[in-house]
């Protein structure tokens, strides 16, 4: 079962990476340290540091408004690309995509 799961995870990651316009996938742990990335090191570290703070702030905002609520997904659409973040207690999954590529 575990090996199945590992295979599935790897496959899904590959699929996402191969989609049109996906520039990079970064996975960071709860402390903001990147554990897996498809971008180069400096970009990874930069994204990780900045987005970690952003997600913390966003989550704090959501929960301050209603403590029973929690953040499930965060999308930041900018002129050049879109950053999509799936936050969790233990990790953040970040995908950067430029859909018009």
């Amino acid at each position: 079962m575990q090996s199945d799961l590992i295979a599935e995870v790897e496959e899904t990651l590959k699929r996402i990476q191969s989609q049109k316009g996906v520039q990079g996938i970064i996975i960071i742990n709860a402390e903001g340290i990147p554990i897996k990335s498809t971008l180069d090191n400096s970009s990874t570290v930069q994204y990780a540091g900045l987005l970690h703070q952003l997600v913390m702030k966003t989550r704090s905002t959501v929960r301050d408004l209603d403590p029973q609520n929690d953040l499930t997904f965060l999308r930041v659409r900018s002129k050049k690309n879109e950053i999509m973040i799936a936050p969790d207690k233990d990790y953040f999954l970040i995908v950067i995509q430029n859909p018009s590529d």
């Binding site: 995870v9 699929r15 704090s60 995509q97």
Partner: protein, 724 residues
């Protein structure tokens, strides 16, 4: 009080004289403590000394009278101190100590008085002090610059002590009360004298003499100034060193949710800490509040290892969601078209449209109302798993119209690969949500209406399996392959039929009806096991369709080309037989709008429109030289239906023309089209082909809002009228 003070201060004097080190200066600030009475004996010996006599300038004897004149014959004063206190009068001597001081003072009146005398000469006391000494000898006066004028207190002689006996105690004692002398407690003599008083002259003379004295003082040999320097203790710096105190700043911001988490104790950290606590097997605490406190004493655990994160269930789910989001971004215009939402151009798009003229025209085209009917390709469901497989059937989920199940399997006997069922979701166009591998080619599919998760799969080897698409299980819930009465031929169609007319309570619900090449139409009921009820025998059926309103009546098409109308209640007899087709009937479908009308298609290149009461078809549509595999009514318009032949897709709009199809779309070269499905929520149709692709096309017919049922019925009526 002041008398007591004076008494006390006298004791200070006495102490001074004790030490004999001081000769002259008598300190005003004498300590009143630690008065040693031990020296009494010694001093007593020195008592008989020639008392000094003090004379002032005028020769007046101002010898201070001793306060106490002891009776030489009396008991030594040490023992009689207490008694003396009692006998002293004239002052409020209630304190033992004060009287004791007095006694001791009296014993050395001599040396003391001498020192006092000497000091009085030296001091600069004013005249008034002397005078006061002069005058009221009995009056005690306040001390001034070290000189204390001592009052003379008469002391009554000590009486002989009588033995206290009962008689003495009971004896009447006469107590005489007399007025005491007037006591002057405080006398501050004036420092100024009136000019008119008698003393004025004397005072003036005195003052003049004094100023002369002061003047002469400067440079006079009589006066010597002396200075003294005290030794200052040499300061010494002493250093001490301590360990540096490390300071740590700790701060916390108590946010709203932090407080909520702590209060509810259901925060994830709390839960994991509780688990940790169980591992440590701490002693059970009686009150729950204490447990909560213990929870927060456990330190926060470290972040889990990367592998644990990466290969967790949650991560996989998040990945799937992310994939859908990414794809949604890519396919946003297509999905918008599917959902019939206006397609907006991305304002931030950096790409310029390739053919500006064309796109503008296209945009104008969609805005114009009258435009020619067209099929617009949106996307196609395909992935590497499905490439090369033949799409045999498609069905929408009855509960979730975004979910599509596609069965892959070959119709022919040769090339038997294993079958595949993929559940595609509109949210993920590139990879199916569920993949089920079947042992044999899949030939029929149907989603249950009552229970949206149940998918029935009919296979080429005759077995029927049901899957639960909600779970991640890859195995079917039920499988009829073990069933002794299972179909022996390929199952051409399965359908869930809701049982409205049921004989008993148990039969209500849904039953699965299947038609197979072995000549049976079976109704499967899921009790504990799959149970089959044969509805019909001896009919090599290829397809069937239950009446939309009456679930007991159904039509079935056979390989011979007949269409039989049957009822579930009668197992042996047909209700009707429609004989018109010359080849196997591949598909029969009731019209969703008109309850009497149905369509049938067959390999004899025809599609026939029937009305159930007429044994002859109302309309016949021919397709050029090709077997028609599938026909389907549009769920939106009563006059529209789609037809799939091997090489092309035709959309017929009876309102527009009954002779020719309105839209014709050719298949891609080398690919055969196999199945057709209309989308219920949208204007799109799905087209399955032999390459494993399910293409989604948007249908633009511009027929307006109505269902056009009336149009259909008009057409039928007119056709019938014209035939007669």
């Amino acid at each position: 009080v002041s008398s007591r003070a004076t008494n006390v201060s006298t004791s200070g004097f006495l102490r001074v004289s004790h030490s004999r080190t001081h000769s002259r200066s008598i300190n005003a600030s004498m300590s009143r403590r630690s008065f040693s009475l031990a020296g009494d004996g010694r001093v007593l010996e020195k008592a008989p000394m020639q008392p000094a006599r003090v004379f002032d300038e005028n020769g007046t004897d101002v010898t201070p009278q001793p306060l106490y004149r002891p009776d030489p014959a009396a008991v030594p004063p040490r023992q009689s101190k207490i008694l003396m206190a009692q006998d002293v009068s004239g002052a409020t001597f209630s304190d033992f100590f004060s009287s004791a001081f007095h006694t001791t003072y009296a014993s050395f009146g001599g040396p003391f008085t001498r020192s006092l005398f000497e000091s009085s000469i030296v001091s600069k006391s004013s005249q008034s002090t002397m005078e006061s000494l002069n005058e009221e000898i009995e009056e005690p006066s306040s001390k001034r610059e070290g000189i204390i004028s001592l009052s003379d207190v008469q002391v009554r002689r000590e009486e002989v002590k009588e033995p206290t006996t009962e008689d003495v105690l009971n004896k009447k004692v006469d107590i005489h009360l007399t007025e005491t002398e007037t006591l002057c407690l405080l006398d501050i003599p004036a420092t100024s004298v009136s000019v008119e008083s008698e003393e004025a002259e004397i005072v003036k003379q005195r003052n003049a003499a004094y100023t002369e004295l002061c003047k002469n003082r400067m440079g006079n040999d009589k006066y010597v100034e002396r200075a003294m320097q005290t030794f200052n203790g040499a300061p010494k710096a002493k250093e001490v060193q301590t360990k540096s105190i490390t300071k740590v700043d700790a701060a916390i911001t108590a946010t709203n949710w932090d407080i909520y988490d702590t209060l509810s104790g259901t925060g994830v950290e709390g839960a994991s800490c509780l688990q940790k606590q169980e591992n440590f097997s701490l002693p059970a605490s009686s009150s729950s509040s204490r447990t909560e406190m213990e929870v927060f004493l456990v330190p926060v655990e470290d972040a889990p290892a990367p592998e644990v994160i990466l290969y967790s269930e949650k991560f996989q789910q998040d990945l799937l969601v992310m994939e859908k989001v990414v794809l949604q971004n890519i396919f946003q215009p297509k999905l918008a078209a599917y959902r019939q939402l206006p397609i907006l151009k991305d304002p931030d798009s950096t790409q310029k449209p390739k053919d500006t003229g064309k796109t503008e025209k296209q945009i104008q085209k969609t805005e114009d109302i009258p435009s020619s009917p067209a099929l617009e390709p949106l996307w196609s469901f395909t992935c590497e798993l499905t490439v090369g497989r033949n799409v045999s059937s498609m069905t929408w989920n009855k509960m979730n119209p975004d979910l599509l199940a596609v069965g892959y399997g070959h119709f022919d006997f040769e090339d038997q690969k294993s079958g595949l069922v993929c559940c595609w979701s509109l949210k993920n166009l590139k990879w199916p949500d569920r993949i089920f591998h079947c042992e044999s080619a899949v030939t029929a599919l149907d989603f249950s209406g009552h229970n949206g998760c149940l998918l029935a799969v009919g296979m080429h080897n005759g077995s029927i399996a049901t899957y639960n698409v909600q779970s991640k299980e890859k195995t079917p819930i039920t499988d009829s392959s073990e069933y002794p009465h299972k179909h022996t031929g390929p199952v051409w169609q399965v359908k869930w039929v809701s049982q409205e007319r049921a004989h008993s309570e148990e039969e209500k619900g849904e039953a699965l009806v299947s038609v197979s090449a072995d000549g049976r139409i079976c109704k499967w009921v899921l009790k504990k096991d799959l149970d089959c009820l044969v509805i019909w025998r001896e009919v090599p059926g290829l397809c069937f369709d239950f009446h939309p309103e009456d679930s007991n009546i159904y039509l079935t098409g056979t390989e011979e080309g007949f269409i039989h109308k049957c009822s579930c209640s009668y197992n042996e007899q047909y209700l009707e037989t429609y004989k018109e087709h010359k080849g196997p009937v591949y598909q029969i479908t009731w019209s969703p709008f008109s309850p009497d009308v149905f369509l049938s298609c067959s390999s004899d290149w025809t599609i026939q429109l029937w009305r159930q009461d007429l044994l002859e078809p109302v309309l016949v549509f021919t397709s050029p030289c090709m077997a028609v595999f599938d026909v389907a009514w549009s769920p939106k318009w009563a006059t529209v239906f789609g037809v799939v032949t091997e090489k092309r897709l035709e959309i017929w709009d009876l309102g527009a023309s009954i002779l020719d199809p309105t839209i014709v779309q050719d298949a891609r070269p080398g690919v055969k089209l196999t199945s057709l499905q209309f989308a219920s929520e949208s204007d799109c149709i799905l087209l399955g082909d032999s390459d494993g692709q399910v293409g989604v096309y948007q249908l633009n017919l511009n027929l307006g809002e109505g269902t056009q049922v009336d149009v259909l019925e008009d057409i039928i009526r007119s056709t019938l009228a014209s035939q007669l």
